[in-house]
């Protein structure tokens, strides 16, 4: 049901019946290692190319999510997914393997919550019983497509971010135990004229703040409604800017806990990741691995996940275009009413 200007309220409370996360070796060395279902030791996953490796990550995550939901893939009505590759090949090719009716979405790194919001809406409106929602990214495919060959020796500035190798998937169902998706806010595209692809946190922060503000306005709630609000992949630089903007817009974020997925997945002391993590997989594996676990354990009751995406292409930044950004927010509550 439409609520306010750009938000959906899911009054039937579709639940996240099962979820799964699959990550690469570097993420497995980070502080959230225990929350992931599968940690691969080989960044290529034994495949011939980086692209195949990314697809395999997603295939494993989706299959495991369906299994964890206690379903078979024939029972899942729709599969919604997206990634960072040109023509979202990882998701489409995984959909070929799954052969579940498929909707491909692209919202750059905001894809994780974009697909979850659409999945929840389909289930809430009665258009589907079970929907599989996913997002994935791979450090090497992203480096190869957006930056330089992976083995090329270039010095990254301190604002750069490290793309997460990981896939997260969940099954949203009309009935079933598990945390519920209660509302979503679809963001608008915000462009503040930042054109440095090594400073995406600064480019994306205004989009995150805009969506969070819209969410509070549409649902007539404040930050204190949530135990935790996380942004997708702003990392150190974007996180600080977002805090500045909240202060400037007089949003009392001090009433809740505000974190960023991009700052949670790696250990800054031991791992060279500059400002932090990024990529579709970042918010997906943190949400579906770490945060869902905390919701199930009752450590958290109500969270808002705001996945942020930079909608640039390798061509657009070479042509000197600025980076348009977007953020989608989804609120998740644990089953207890």
């Amino acid at each position: 049901m439409l609520k306010g200007h750009q938000s959906w309220l899911f009054e039937k409370r579709p639940s996240i019946r099962g979820a799964a996360t699959v990550v690469g070796p570097f993420e497995g060395q980070g502080p959230l290692a225990n929350d992931f279902d599968i940690i691969h030791g080989d960044i290529r996953l034994g495949q011939d190319s980086w692209e195949e490796a990314e697809r395999t990550l997603l295939e494993e995550a989706t299959k495991l999510a369906v299994e964890n939901a206690g379903l078979t893939k024939e029972q899942v009505n729709f599969f919604i997914g997206g990634d960072l590759m040109n023509q979202i090949i990882s998701s489409s090719f995984a959909a070929r393997t799954l052969s579940i009716p498929y909707l491909g979405v692209f919202g750059a790194c905001s894809t994780s919550m974009e697909s979850l919001a659409i999945a929840a809406n389909l289930v809430n409106s009665g258009s589907a019983k079970h929907v599989l929602s996913s997002a994935c990214s791979h450090n090497s495919t992203a480096e190869k497509q957006f930056r330089y060959p992976t083995e090329y020796g270039s010095q990254k500035p301190p604002t750069a971010q490290f793309t997460v190798t990981g896939a997260g998937a969940c099954v949203v169902s009309a009935h079933g135990k598990g945390p519920c998706v209660t509302s979503a806010t679809i963001g608008r595209v915000i462009d503040m004229g930042i054109s440095d692809p090594f400073n995406m946190g600064a480019a994306m922060a205004p989009a995150a703040v805009d969506t969070i503000e819209a969410h509070f306005r549409d649902l007539r709630i404040g930050p204190d409604h949530y135990d935790l609000i996380v942004t997708g992949d702003l990392s150190k630089v974007g996180y600080e800017i977002a805090n500045d903007l909240f202060h400037k817009h007089k949003i009392p974020m001090q009433k809740t806990v505000y974190k960023d997925c991009g700052m949670m997945i790696y250990d800054y002391e031991k791992q060279t990741v500059q400002a932090g993590a990024s990529g579709c997989g970042c918010s997906a594996v943190v949400t579906y691995g770490h945060l869902l676990k905390k919701l199930r354990n009752n450590e958290l009751k109500r969270i808002l996940v705001v996945a942020t995406g930079a909608l640039l292409s390798p061509i657009s930044f070479q042509q000197g275009e600025s980076i348009p950004c977007i953020a989608h927010a989804v609120s998740i509550e644990n089953g207890v009413e």
């Binding site: 011939d48 190319s49 980086w50 692209e51 190869k144 330089y148 060959p149 992976t150 083995e151 090329y152 020796g153 270039s154 010095q155 990254k156 500035p157 301190p158 604002t159 462009d191 503040m192 004229g193 930042i194 054109s195 400073n199 600064a202 922060a205 205004p206 150190k236 630089v237 600080e240 800017i241 500045d244 903007l245 400037k248 060279t272 400002a275 000197g320």
Partner: protein, 161 residues
């Protein structure tokens, strides 16, 4: 950012960029310079040692020794690239490992490795010069203009014939 681009920004965008700029950690320029000086120096020292080896042990004179020395440096760089070490060194060394011939070898080897899965012709052959191509193109262009200057100012020595 150029001033022509800045003019197109709205006042809100400009205000935001000023705010964002304050939160942006600066590149550590002095640290990068010192590291580049040290690492570039070490690479050149290794090169000099290799050159001396050719002179003292293999009977080359100093000019003849330069070609096999470059070949050895390129080989070392390609091996380090293939082992996945060169990019790690480069994050520390910066320009120190990018400017010497080892950096050039790294651009070609890394691109060839990366695109190997797209086939030998269009992958390795076509994409190998993705990063090193500009160096060759503008190096040749620069050499052409320097050649002209050389021809104008030192007419007696230029041309070779």
């Amino acid at each position: 950012m150029s001033s022509s681009k800045k003019k197109k920004l709205t006042p809100v965008q400009q205000e935001y960029q000023e705010l964002a700029k304050k939160r942006e950690p600066a590149r550590p320029i002095w640290q990068n310079c010192i590291r580049a000086f040290l690492s570039g120096g070490v690479i050149c020292l290794i090169g000099q040692c290799v050159s001396e080896m050719f002179v003292h042990w293999a009977g080359f004179d100093e000019i003849e020794a330069s070609n096999p020395t470059v070949a050895v440096m390129i080989l070392i760089s390609v091996i380090l690239t293939c082992l996945g070490v060169y990019d790690k060194i480069a994050q520390w060394a910066g320009a120190g490992s990018a400017v010497p011939v080892t950096g050039f070898a790294n651009t070609m080897a890394s691109a060839a490795l990366e695109h190997r899965c797209e086939g030998l012709v269009l992958g390795v052959g076509g994409k190998m010069f993705k990063l090193s191509g500009p160096v060759i193109v503008f190096g040749t262009v620069a050499a052409f203009f320097i050649g002209i200057l050389h021809w104008i100012f030192n007419p007696g020595e230029a041309g070779g014939h």
